[in-house]
């Protein structure tokens, strides 16, 4: 279990190499990288706020839940906070398992859970606006689908 909550940028490929390099016995690795959307060129910055202390605990609980459901050999969650610009990586999850199905499903589960259960809040800054991003019904529905 590797959890990183950081202000610094990261290079998804390098992180994936690092994650892959420490797995033993894995036959499948799945990763997902989330990027800052550019809002058709309008975005000047994305600000991400989080709740230090709770964030790490929540991510750990989400990974523990995934480990209870699938036979995972390794898990990684990295999530940035602070000020980001368009197209920068925001976050990444990676899962390793013996077979691909568990790795795919667990990565999907980790994403659905961390979207709605990890204490991060995004704000999109354009020339005219500085709006907090609203949680969507689709996010809640995705979460419920794992019940």
């Amino acid at each position: 279990m590797d959890i990183r909550v950081q202000i610094d940028p990261f290079i998804p490929g390098a992180l994936l190499d690092e994650f892959s390099g420490v797995q033993t016995g894995a036959g499948a690795i799945v990763s997902f990288t989330g990027l800052v959307r550019d809002l058709d060129g309008e975005l000047q910055a994305m600000e991400i706020e989080h709740y230090p202390g709770m964030t790490e605990k929540a991510l750990m609980q989400i990974i523990e839940e995934a480990q209870a459901r699938w036979p995972l050999l390794g898990t990684l969650i990295v999530h940035r906070y602070g000020t980001l610009t368009a197209n920068e990586p925001i976050m990444m999850v990676a899962t390793a398992s013996k077979h691909r199905k568990a790795a795919f499903e667990a990565a999907d589960f980790l994403m659905d859970y961390l979207k709605s259960r990890a204490p991060f809040w995004k704000r999109e800054i354009t020339a005219q606006t500085a709006d907090w991003v609203d949680a969507t019904k689709a996010d809640e529905i995705a979460l419920k689908s794992w019940d």
């Binding site: 989080h50 961390l114 204490p119 809040w121 995004k122 609203d134 949680a135």
Partner: protein, 83 residues
């Protein structure tokens, strides 16, 4: 009891601080919200729609009617938008 109360995102902006220490006898987050609302319009604005808010007690997501017994830290914030 003395509680550390934290606010995030637009809740923090409406209240004007990210963290404060409050002396209260409230037994649930909902009771604390009612008490704060009566103190100042800033709180009334931030807490106008409880269905739009989430609460964490000692850094654990919970319900508005959870017990505040032996709790040290409580946080109010909008639904989370990570990922």
């Amino acid at each position: 009891m003395t509680l550390d109360v934290l606010y995030f995102a637009w809740v923090r902006e409406r209240i004007g601080v990210g963290r404060e220490t409050i002396e209260t006898a409230a037994s649930t987050p909902r009771a604390l919200v009612d008490e704060l609302r009566s103190r100042d319009t800033r709180y009334a604005m931030a807490f106008s729609d409880l269905s739009a808010l989430r609460v964490a007690v000692d850094q654990q997501l919970t319900e508005m009617d959870a017990s505040l017994q032996d709790v040290r830290e409580i946080a109010f914030f909008p639904p989370m938008t990570g990922g």
